[in-house]
C-alpha cells in the first residue's frame, strides 16, 4: 500500500454532455493502474485516447463517475481532500505561456506556496531550492516572457516543486519546444526523479521520451491496452503502430533488419550494428 502513490481502480469517466445532446462516450473505461512511489511512468496514446483525462483525474481536477482514484490513500471527493491531493500531485501543461502568472520568475515560483499561506522565510528557501533544482536560479529576477520555451517550462516545474509535491504530472510538456528546450526539460525531469525521488507521470507524443521511463502505458479508446517496460512495449512494433503510435527510429531500424532483442537508444543501435558488421568482416 505504502509504495503506491496513485491508484486507479476500475475508473470510468465521461464528460458531461450539453442539454439535448446524446450522452458522450466515456473518455476512460474501467481503468486500473497503480503508480509506484518514485516511479517514472510514460503514458502514450493517440489524440483523444484518454491520456489527458487520466492526467486530470490524478490531481482531482475531475472525479470519476464510477471506480475510485486514490492519491496517498486519499479520495478527492470533497473540496478539502481535493486540495490536499493537489499538494501531493502537481501538474505541468503543454503551453508554457498559459502557466505563468507573475512578471518576475521568482514571484511566479512563489505563487503556489504564498497561496498556501507558507511563512515568507520558508517561501524564500523553497523558491531558491526549486529554481536551483531546475537550473534556473540565475534567472530568478528575469521576466518570464523573455525566457525561451524550455526555460519557461522549467520555471513551471519549479512552481510545482515549491509546493513540495511528491509527484509531477506533465502533459506533453515539450510539444511546443525546440530540440534544445526538449532536451533541457527532459533532463531536468529525469534528474528530479533520480535525485529527489519525485514520482513522474509523463504524457507524450514523442516516443524517444518514453524510452528512458521505468514503465510505459499505452492508451486507446479510454482503455489501457499495453503496459510494460519500454523494451517490452516497443518490441511490439506492429501493435504499437496499430494504436496510431510509433517506435523510436533506432528500434524501427533494428526491427526492420531483423536484429534480435529490442534496441531503444542510438548508442545501442550503433553498437549492435557495428558488432554485426564486424562479424561480417571477420
Amino acid at each position: 500500500m505504502n509504495d503506491t502513490i496513485i491508484e486507479f481502480e476500475n475508473v470510468t469517466f465521461t464528460y458531461d454532455s450539453e442539454e439535448g445532446e446524446a450522452p458522450k462516450t466515456p473518455a476512460l473505461r474501467n481503468v486500473t493502474l497503480r503508480v509506484k512511489r518514485g516511479e517514472f511512468l510514460a503514458v502514450l496514446g493517440h489524440n483523444g485516447s484518454g491520456k489527458s483525462t487520466l492526467d486530470k483525474l490524478c490531481n482531482a481536477i475531475y472525479t470519476p463517475q464510477s471506480g475510485v482514484v486514490r492519491v496517498n490513500g486519499l479520495v478527492g471527493d470533497t473540496e478539502e481532500k481535493a486540495d490536499q491531493i493537489r499538494r501531493i500531485v502537481g501538474m505541468v501543461f503543454q503551453n508554457p505561456d498559459n502557466q505563468i502568472v507573475a512578471t518576475i520568475v521568482e514571484d511566479d515560483v512563489a505563487f503556489g506556496p504564498e497561496n498556501l499561506g507558507v511563512e515568507p522565510q520558508e517561501i524564500r528557501r523553497r523558491v531558491d531550492d526549486a529554481l536551483k533544482a531546475v537550473n534556473m536560479y540565475e534567472f530568478r529576477l528575469r521576466e518570464p516572457h523573455k525566457l525561451s520555451g524550455g526555460q519557461k517550462q522549467r520555471v513551471a516545474i519549479a512552481g510545482v516543486l515549491a509546493m513540495q509535491t511528491d509527484c509531477i504530472v506533465l502533459d506533453e510538456p515539450t510539444a511546443m519546444l525546440d530540440p534544445k528546450g526538449r532536451e533541457e526539460v527532459m533532463s531536468t525531469v529525469h534528474r528530479l526523479n533520480e535525485e529527489m525521488g519525485i514520482t513522474v507521470i509523463l504524457v507524450t507524443h514523442f516516443m524517444d521520451e518514453a524510452v528512458a521511463a521505468d514503465r510505459v502505458v499505452v492508451m486507446d479508446s479510454g482503455r489501457i491496452v499495453m503496459t510494460g517496460t519500454p523494451a517490452q512495449v516497443f518490441s511490439q512494433v506492429d501493435t504499437v503502430r496499430r494504436y496510431g503510435l510509433d517506435v523510436p527510429q533506432a528500434t524501427e531500424l533494428c526491427h526492420a533488419l531483423g536484429m534480435p532483442g529490442c534496441v531503444l537508444t542510438i548508442e545501442d543501435c550503433v553498437a549492435q550494428i557495428a558488432a554485426r558488421a564486424g562479424g561480417d568482416a571477420g
Partner: protein, 287 residues
C-alpha cells in the same frame, strides 16, 4: 521572372526607439522560388515566426522590403490587401482561431473576404474540405464538436480555401500524435504536388523538414545562419547542435557508423533509407 516571395534587407525591431530595442529579424535576404518547398528551422526566439509574419503584411518591416510576385507589398493599400490573399499563413495551433457556427462558415470566411461569387466560395470550401479529409456531413457541425485532429484540419482548410499562391505553415503538427503528424505531412506533400503552390514550413521537427523540404533555411539570432539542400544542412550536425537544434536519430546513427569506419552513406533521413543503405552492404544485411 520574379520570385514568389523575396525579402531584401528585411529587419524588424521590437521596442524600437527604447533601450530594450532588439532586432528580431536582422537584415535578412531570402528569395523563395515559385513552387519551392522551403523548410525553416531555428530555436525558439531565433526570428522564424517574426520573419514569416512579414510575408503577408501582418508585420511591417522596420527596414528593408518584402516583395510578393516582384511587387513591394507595402506599396499601397490594395497591394497589401492582395498580398494577404496571395500568401496564406497558417499559425501554430490554428484550431484556436476557429470561431464560426459551422465548419462550413469557418472555411468560407477567407474566400468571403476576397469578395468572390457565392458559387465560387462554395466550390472552394468543398474542395478544401475534401482535400484535408473532412466529410460533407462534418461541414454542418460546430467546429467545437470536432475532434482535435479534425479541428486542426478544418483550420488548415480555412487557409487553403483562399487558394493562395504561397502557403506558410508555422509548426503545423505541434501536439499531434505520430500518425496525425505523418498524415499531415503527407497532406502537405500532396497539396503541393497537386496545386504546384509554393510552401514554407516552420518546424522544430528535423524529421518532418528532412522528409519534405527542397531547401532548408536555418535561422539563428535573427539572421539566416545556414541554408541549402537537406544534405548540405543536415551534414553539419555539430553546427546545428550549437544553434540548439539537432539531426534526426537515424541520421545520427549513420553518422556514427560512418565515423566508426562502416562504409555507409551519412545522408540518411528516414528509417527506410537506413535499411536500404545497410542492405546494400550485402552479407548478413541482405533481406
Amino acid at each position: 521572372m520574379s520570385y514568389a516571395i523575396e525579402a531584401i534587407g528585411l529587419t524588424h525591431y521590437y521596442a524600437k526607439g527604447t533601450q530594450q530595442q532588439v532586432a528580431a529579424v536582422d537584415h535578412v535576404d531570402l528569395a523563395v522560388e515559385r513552387g519551392e518547398l522551403v523548410g525553416m528551422i531555428g530555436h525558439t526566439g531565433s526570428g522564424k515566426s517574426t520573419l514569416i509574419s512579414h510575408f503577408n503584411g501582418l508585420l511591417k518591416p522596420s527596414e528593408g522590403k518584402v516583395l510578393v510576385d516582384g511587387v513591394d507589398i507595402w506599396r499601397d493599400k490594395e497591394t497589401l490587401r492582395q498580398s494577404r490573399f496571395k500568401v496564406g499563413l497558417c499559425f501554430q495551433y490554428p484550431e484556436y482561431q476557429l470561431f464560426e457556427e459551422t465548419v462550413y462558415k469557418d472555411i468560407a470566411f477567407g474566400p468571403g473576404n476576397m469578395k468572390l461569387p457565392k458559387e465560387e466560395i462554395d466550390a472552394r470550401v468543398r474542395r478544401a474540405a475534401e482535400f484535408v479529409g473532412l466529410t460533407p456531413a462534418l461541414l454542418e457541425k460546430s467546429p467545437f464538436d470536432l475532434s482535435g485532429g479534425e479541428k486542426r484540419r478544418a483550420a488548415i482548410a480555412g487557409v487553403m480555401s483562399m487558394e493562395p499562391e504561397v502557403l506558410i505553415f508555422d509548426e503545423p503538427a505541434a501536439g499531434l500524435d505520430p500518425r496525425g503528424r505523418k498524415d499531415l505531412m503527407a497532406l502537405i506533400r500532396s497539396y503541393r504536388a497537386e496545386t504546384g503552390s509554393t510552401v514554407i514550413i516552420v518546424s522544430h521537427s528535423m524529421e518532418d523538414i528532412a522528409s519534405l523540404a527542397d531547401r532548408v533555411v536555418v535561422m539563428n539570432h535573427a539572421k539566416i545562419a545556414m541554408q541549402g539542400t537537406v544534405d548540405e544542412v543536415y551534414s553539419q550536425g555539430d553546427a546545428l547542435r550549437e544553434m540548439g537544434l539537432n539531426v534526426p536519430d537515424i541520421t545520427e546513427i549513420f553518422a556514427r557508423l560512418h565515423a566508426q569506419g562502416l562504409p555507409v552513406p551519412t545522408n540518411i533521413y528516414t528509417v527506410a533509407d537506413g535499411v536500404r543503405a545497410l542492405q546494400a552492404l550485402g552479407g548478413r544485411w541482405r533481406a
